[in-house]
């Protein structure tokens, strides 16, 4: 473990050569990149759909607080050409995305990989230490396993956001058949609202995720493609 306790931000010495470790099963790599591509399709078709009624609230208002009210997003980030085309993309890709999500979750359960990813109560302390380290309130990198507690928090959160997106999606797809679910989110317009906000959280997460990968642990990028990791944090829980 000692070799993990390196202050990565100020580590000027070249990374010592370590034997590569197998990090990601092909199911994890496949679902990761498939989710990335499918999410682009869902977000872009979603922005085209949004354009048909670019606000939230009953006809005539009042409307929910929304910086994108009456915004028409640029053609470059819209998929489908018109409302029907976008709906058909959205309702086709949703099956693939849900399928990929279920495959990922099944693999997590079957392989016990979830143990190194699920954020639990006992990770709270470590998450605070990690945050202190990032804010430079702490000098040494706290010891960690495959993922640090903040990563666990992020990867647990993003799965929950996926679940929320599916549920709000169902609530606005079938607001009569699943009226209880629609009511749970505060009604049809509120469910639309949360479905829309999930998009921006996904986008924000992706940006932060990519920045952190390249700023903190670039070899993890290669690991998500080849499966093999050769970097600073090789140990498993």
């Amino acid at each position: 473990m000692a070799e993990n306790i390196l202050h990565i931000m100020s580590d000027a010495s070249p990374t010592p050569v370590r034997p590569p470790v197998k990090r990601h099963h092909w199911i994890v790599r496949f679902t990761h990149w498939a989710t990335f591509v499918l999410l682009i399709g869902m977000v872009t078709s979603g922005l085209q759909i949004y354009g048909a009624y670019a606000k939230f609230g009953e006809r005539g208002g009042p409307y929910f607080v929304n910086p994108f009210q009456d915004t028409e997003f640029p053609g470059a980030v819209r998929l489908g050409g018109w409302l029907a085309g976008a709906l058909n993309w959205h309702f086709a890709l949703m099956w693939a995305l849900v399928g990929v999500g279920l495959l990922y979750l099944c693999y997590m359960m079957a392989s016990s990989e979830w143990r190194s990813l699920l954020f639990r109560r006992r990770d709270v302390r470590g998450a605070i230490q990690m945050q202190q380290y990032y804010l430079r309130l702490r000098k040494d990198h706290p010891p960690q396993g495959k993922h640090n507690p903040l990563q666990k928090l992020a990867y647990t959160f993003i799965v929950l956001l996926g679940v929320l997106s599916v549920l709000t999606g169902v609530a606005i797809y079938k607001p009569v058949q699943f009226s209880w679910l629609t009511a749970l989110f505060g009604g049809f317009q509120a469910a639309r609202y949360w479905h829309f906000w999930a998009v921006w959280i996904f986008v924000g997460f992706t940006v932060a995720h990519v920045v952190l990968v390249f700023a903190v642990d670039p070899p993890s990028f290669k690991a998500m493609i080849t499966g093999w990791y050769r970097g600073r944090f090789p140990s498993h829980d």
């Binding site: 990149w33 872009t44 058949q177 493609i225």
Partner: protein
């Protein structure tokens, strides 16, 4: 750190996706038909798995009505009858007893009134009160043949029409509406008679009705034929 092959693989994926988005792509000749196939699968799931013929849409208080409900028609000008007194709803197709019903005939049939939320495919919603005769009451009067599985509703708004499955049409909240918000149905909302169902998206509710024909084959519809979901049950 990043190997070149991996980078190109990633770039190719992201590039294809953003190119597709940039072109406002509806799928083109190859993908669009597949998307429509999946749309038919979604129709099947929506109709056979998710749809309950007895689950009722929530009703609202009349005080919750939306002040101004948008309307649309596909004709260039508001569709109006030259001679409203001569108007009849033609009921035919796979029935024992074809009918020609006047508004007066319809008003003497069982009457249903409900205040419900309208869901437009665009995403807006509006609450109104609709009064009329349940489609099931008309079906009973015209005596369906066992082969009847669909209804084709036609209008005098250009060639606007809709095809319905029988189960959705027989839902207790599916009505032929001649009244809106305690008044006769306005011309802007489909006078003299329109279809209304809170369990469907707005574009399935044929306005300016002239006929309903029972069929054994799935009828198309104005928007449905252009790629909008056929079932559109919510």
């Amino acid at each position: 750190m990043i190997d070149r092959r991996a980078f190109f693989r990633l770039a190719a994926g992201a590039g294809t996706a953003s190119l597709a988005a940039a072109c406002k792509w509806d799928g083109g000749e190859v993908v669009k038909p597949r998307l429509l196939d999946i749309g038919r699968l979604n129709d099947w799931v929506s109709e056979k798995v998710l749809y309950s013929p007895s689950r009722l849409a929530r009703e609202y208080a009349t005080t919750e009505r939306t002040a101004r409900v948008p309307t649309y028609f596909i004709s260039r000008t508001l569709p109006m009858l030259k001679d409203p007194a001569a108007w009849r709803l033609r009921v035919d197709g796979l029935v024992r007893q074809p009918l020609d019903l006047s508004i007066d005939d319809l008003m003497h049939m069982p009457r249903t009134t409900h205040t419900v939320k309208h869901h437009c495919v665009e995403g807006w919603t509006a609450i109104s009160t609709w009064s009329g005769v349940p489609v099931s009451a008309v079906a009973e009067r015209c005596e369906l043949l066992p082969a009847a599985r669909f209804i084709h509703f036609k209008s005098f708004d250009a060639d606007y029409s809709n095809g319905w499955d029988l189960a959705s049409a027989m839902h207790p909240q599916t009505i032929l509406a001649y009244g809106m918000n305690d008044n006769p149905l306005p011309a802007a909302h489909g006078a003299p008679l329109r279809l209304y169902a809170p369990t469907k998206l707005g574009y399935k509710m044929t306005k300016y009705l002239v006929s309903m024909t029972f069929t054994d084959k799935r009828p198309g519809g104005f928007w449905e034929d252009q790629g909008y979901p056929w079932f559109a049950g919510i």
